[in-house]
Structures are given as C-alpha cells and as structure tokens.
Subunit: 335 residues, 2 copies
DNA sequence: CTGAGCTATTGAAAGGCTTCAATTAAAATC
DNA sequence: GATTTTAATTGAAGCCTTTCAATAGCTCAG
C-alpha cells in the first residue's frame, strides 16, 4: 500500500527510453517523436509518477514555493492578503508557505532568512524593512514588499513593492469627517505602528481649524479597542470623531462606546481602515477606507512571479489607490 | 553580493574536518570532542551556512514542511485553525504550506495528492474525506483530519483525527434556546455542508413540542446571511429563533433582520457556531458555540508531529468539547 | 552512393547531504 | 608496554533529477 513512489528511472524503463528523454519531455525542452512522447506519458500515468521535488530543486535551485510573511494572520486584512496571493499562487502553480509573525517582529530577520532558503521568492510586509532595511537584498532571492506608503520611506527601495497610498487614505477619510461637521478628531493608533505620524500628519494637514488629537493601543484586537472607550469618553478632551488605526480596533471601540451609552454617530462618529468584511455588519455599519487587501496579495504574487522568471522588472513600486467606504458610523452631521 | 551559499563541504574545509562530521554534528547523531564541535559551529556561523533543503530532503525523504488544507481561509474559523497550527509548527520547526480550496472541493484530491509529495505530513479538513474516503491512506504520508463529528461517519477512520462533538454543540445551543421559551426554531444551514442533517437531528431530538424548521444558503458569507432575512421574516412559517450554520452567516442574517425592523432577541433570537472574534462585537452580541478552532489547529499539528516522528499512535480520534457562549442575541424570554 | 547537416535521443556528470561500514585515535585492561 | 575495547572520525556510496556534450539515425544535396 505504501510502496516506494516511482522514479524517473522507473518511468524510463517502462517506456523503453532513457531518463533524459523523460526529463526532457516533462520539462518541454525539445521535440520528440509523437510516438515516443505518447509512450512516456502513458508510463507516467500508469506508474502515477511525480517529480521528486527535493531532487529537482537540488539541480535547478527552484522549489516551486513562495514564502508569504504576515504580521498577524488573524487580522482579516492579512487574511485577505493571503487569500489574494493564494489565488494567483494556484494559477501559477506555486505553493504558498505562510508565516505568521503574530505581531512579534523581533525574530523576523532570522525567520525570513530561513524561509528564503526554501522558496523561490518572498512576499514581505513593508513593515519588516523598517526593522532590517537591507533584508530583501541580503536574501539572495527575489522579493516583493507590500503595504502602505510611508512619507519619506520606501520610495528608494531597490526591491519591487505594491504600496497603497497611505496619506491619501487618511485624507479621504479626514475630508469626509470634516464635511460632516466634526471638529475634535481623535486618532487612535497602534503603538507599534510606524505609520502613526503619517496618519496624524495627513489629518492635521487638512484639518483647518479642527483639532486632531492622538492616542494609542498596544494590540490590534477588538478587546484593545473596547478597553480604550472609557478613557475617551471620560477623558479630559472632548471628542466628536474617532479615526482608528484599523477596522479591528474600530469595531472594538465602537462596541465599547455603545456600552457606555454613547450614540454613534450622533455623539461621536467613528471610522477605521482596511474595510474588512464584517465592517459592513456591525451596528452602526462602519465607515472605513478599503486598503485593497486582496489586491495587495494578488498583485504581489504576480509581481514576484515576473521576478522569478526574471522577465521585466516594470515599475519598481506599484501604487494602489485606497477607496473610501462611507457607512452609518459617520453619517449625519454633528449634533 | 549574491554569492553562492556555503555548502557542507565549505564548512568542513573551514573547520578542518570531514563533511560527515559536520553533518553528524548538525543532526546530533553521535558524540564529538567538544573542541571539534566548537570549531565546526564556529565555521557554520562564520560562513552563515544553512542546510540545502533540497539535498537534505532527497536523502532523508523529509521536507520540514506540513501541508494544511482549509476550505476557505477567509472564514475566521479556518483562520483560527491556521493560527493554532502555525504556533505549533513554529515550535516544532516546520513550515506551514497553506492551501485554500476556496470552497471548491472538486479538485481537492488532485491538489492534496500533489501537496503530499512536498510535505512530511498533512492536516486536512474532515470534510474532504467525504469526497474521497481513502484519500489519507493513499497519500503515503501521515495525515491528521480535523473537524466536527458526523453521526455514523469518521468513527472508523484509520487516520488520526481531532474532532469536535457536533451533536453536543447543537444540543447545547438548542437547550439554551428552548430554555428561553422559543418554540419555532429555524435552522439555516449551508447547502454544501454534510452536517445539516446532524445539526437538525440533534435539535429535533431535544425540541419536545417545539418545531424545528430548515433552510439553506449557498455560500458561507455574511451577504448570504443578509440575503435570506426577508424570506424568513415574510415567509409562511412563523419563527422565533434562528440557529445558523456558522457565525459568519449568523452575523449577516442578524444585520438583515435588523434592517427589516425585527428586534433581536425580542422578536427573534439568533445564534451561530464557531465563536469567531467578532461575534462578541456585533449588536446585539451573538450567542454561539465555541468550536475550538484554534485548538483544532494546534492539536492537529501536535498529533501529526507524533505521527511523523512515528512515536505512539495514542488514541486515533481525539474528541473536543464545544463550549456554549451565551450572549445578548438570545438573552431574555420570548415576548 | 558518399558525406554533410539535421534531428531525435542518450550517457554521464553534477548538485549537497546523510549514512553505514570502515578506519584511526584514544582509553582501558592485563 | 602490548593488546584489547571503546570512542571519535571519515570515505564513499546513494538519493533523483537536470543538463550538456555526444551519439546514432535520418534526410538530402551533390
């Protein structure tokens, strides 16, 4: 039942040709008599032969796998990135090795370095290059970075990247909030994020006479968002709108506010980033900015595929436009 | 910059020993003079040597990877399974190759068969064995199945499995709903699920004089849940409680009901399965049954690890207990 | 009919690692 | 100090595939 899998040699013997012939046919390297080819294909089927990936990778240096490193797979944003990448990976015939850092970026260099030895290319969160700027170049493997643009960073990257305009995203959201008459905006950031300054900066730039305040949570969880509600409501600063680092935090916070009897959006309006699936289904439905999570994943994989085949490069950095999704949590003017 | 990575031979030369010695040390196969070992380790560090996984796998037949096949990674239930598995994978030093079937089970056999050739073991959704009963045995690789028990199935599996008691889950939820005085229960299933009969059966078994009705949706999305709301509210049958196939559908449906002006839980109470993170954060918060998603993943990987090391078998099927999570969506008696 | 020019096919090497039997060095015994 | 035991180390084979130079088999021009 658990018999040794057939090898190239077995197939060659069965078809009465040399192993080279079989290998050539498998890799479409040259023309063969149709009759020979048919005989070989038949033998392959009969023996249920599959290439031994180890042996193959030893000589070609290729693995047929791509490594995808995400910060936290439970965050639907990253899940969607994985999903997008997975679709394309399947189309191109790659396996996807998913590494979940679980927000612990400290061993990332080590992890990525290890991963690099067993894949044909890597898709990495832009965030990682902040820890180790030269990481992608030291890998010796093609890599693509994905994530949000960061003012003054990532532009000179040698490594190709799929980036989504971060400042535009903030401004889209900020303008919408200002248009609804809000004047005291709280930005709830994620303390370990490198984008906080960018986000707040963009908001302040368009704020005019409105005030933009700032605070942070320590984990990207709904619990963290919920926990912060009281300090906003009972804090010293009056607030009439909240912009959260992402939808996960926003949803937690939204829930926390409602528990405290705050009316959303009448008393305080609230919004997030990412446009995760559930945002439309919380109450009130959450205004957010679609950060193109799935596109980030699929385009990264496409770009990486090109790099692996060493075709093109094409533009090094692809910029994606965020999309504002206005929903109930910011509808209606301030009272 | 992109110089050839160091090989065993390089290390051996640098340390002044044979390649066998280095290999032995790396695989802790026998005792060496501390001094020799130190010299070798130093050389490894100095040359930044890493084993070539291809070459290694060729001779050992091992890959250092595990394949995890899920039905839909965007469903937080499966995301949590991946997360649980990922934690243990990291602990044991495996890479996790995640394959997302995207609910399309038709090519599963092919996909899994391919995957099996490049991993040391597989973690598969129990659901797959329904398509191809002997799949795990034909793989020639250790496998672990995970998912819900199904009356009259999966008990005689030769393959180890981590199963969660499905009927108990339904009964836990059913009893709770009956205790709140509901008498007309609608079960909203997923049309492609093989567990519908089990779920409904379990509910009917404890229903007494209460009525259990049944309908289905075609995709496991919030949209699908939302879309079905009207047909429940305006349908011919009066309903005072809804049990959904999972939280994703339940959340969509909950939203749809609220849009139609139905008061939850006063008019209709609603519950789901899985206990995904967001269930606590929708309004009203959703009663559900925790299906131990993360444990399913982590225990599957632990079990698989044992099988790969060919230690034990231990019990073939591990049964996990579901946990009822009572929240606002079913609180309070029927009006 | 011969030899040149192609084409279809093959032989053999290479790639990096593990393993087992064999060798050498060290330790123990008398 | 010579000999036996035991421990530390190594040589060489083998894993399976790809590739490149080389061969064999044809065709065709002269």
């Amino acid at each position: 039942m658990n018999k040794r899998p057939a090898t190239l040699k077995d197939v060659a013997a069965a078809a009465g040709v040399s192993t080279s012939t079989v290998s050539m046919i498998l890799n479409r390297r040259s023309q063969f008599k149709p009759e020979v080819e048919a005989r070989v294909r038949e033998a392959i089927l009969a023996l249920n032969y599959r290439q031994n990936p180890g042996a193959r990778s030893m000589v070609t240096g290729l693995f047929g796998s791509i490594g995808l490193v995400v910060l936290d797979i439970r965050n639907p944003h990253f899940t969607n990135v994985v999903h997008g990448a997975s679709i394309k990976a399947q189309a191109y015939g790659y396996n996807l090795i998913v590494v979940d850092l679980k927000e612990d970026i400290s061993h990332a260099t080590q992890t990525v370095d290890n991963l690099a030895r067993r894949v044909d290319g890597l898709i990495l969160s832009l965030r990682l290059t902040e820890e180790a700027r030269d990481l992608p170049r030291e890998l010796g493997k093609p890599a693509v970075l994905f994530g949000q643009t960061l003012q003054g960073h990532f532009q000179d990257l040698q490594t190709p990247s799929i980036q989504i305009r971060g400042r535009e995203a903030s401004m889209l959201l900020g303008r919408h909030i200002l248009e609804t008459g809000r004047r005291r905006i709280m930005y709830v950031g994620y303390s370990r994020s490198i984008w906080n300054a960018d986000r707040v900066g963009a908001l302040r730039e368009i704020a005019g006479d409105a005030e933009v305040m700032e605070m942070s949570v320590d984990t990207q969880t709904m619990e963290a968002g919920e926990a912060i509600a009281a300090s906003i409501v009972y804090g010293p600063q009056k607030v009439d709108a909240i912009v959260c680092y992402n939808d996960v935090i926003a949803i937690g916070l939204l829930h926390g506010l409602c528990d405290l009897g705050v009316r959303v959006p009448e008393d305080i309006s609230i919004a997030g980033f990412d446009n995760i699936a559930v945002s439309r289904y919380v109450t009130p439905s959450l205004t957010t900015v679609d950060m193109r999570s799935e596109d980030l994943g699929s385009r990264s994989l496409e770009r990486l595929h090109l790099a692996i085949e060493s075709r093109d490069p094409g533009p090094t950095a692809v910029l994606l436009e965020p999309r504002l999704m206005v929903r109930a949590s910011t509808q209606g003017s301030a009272k």
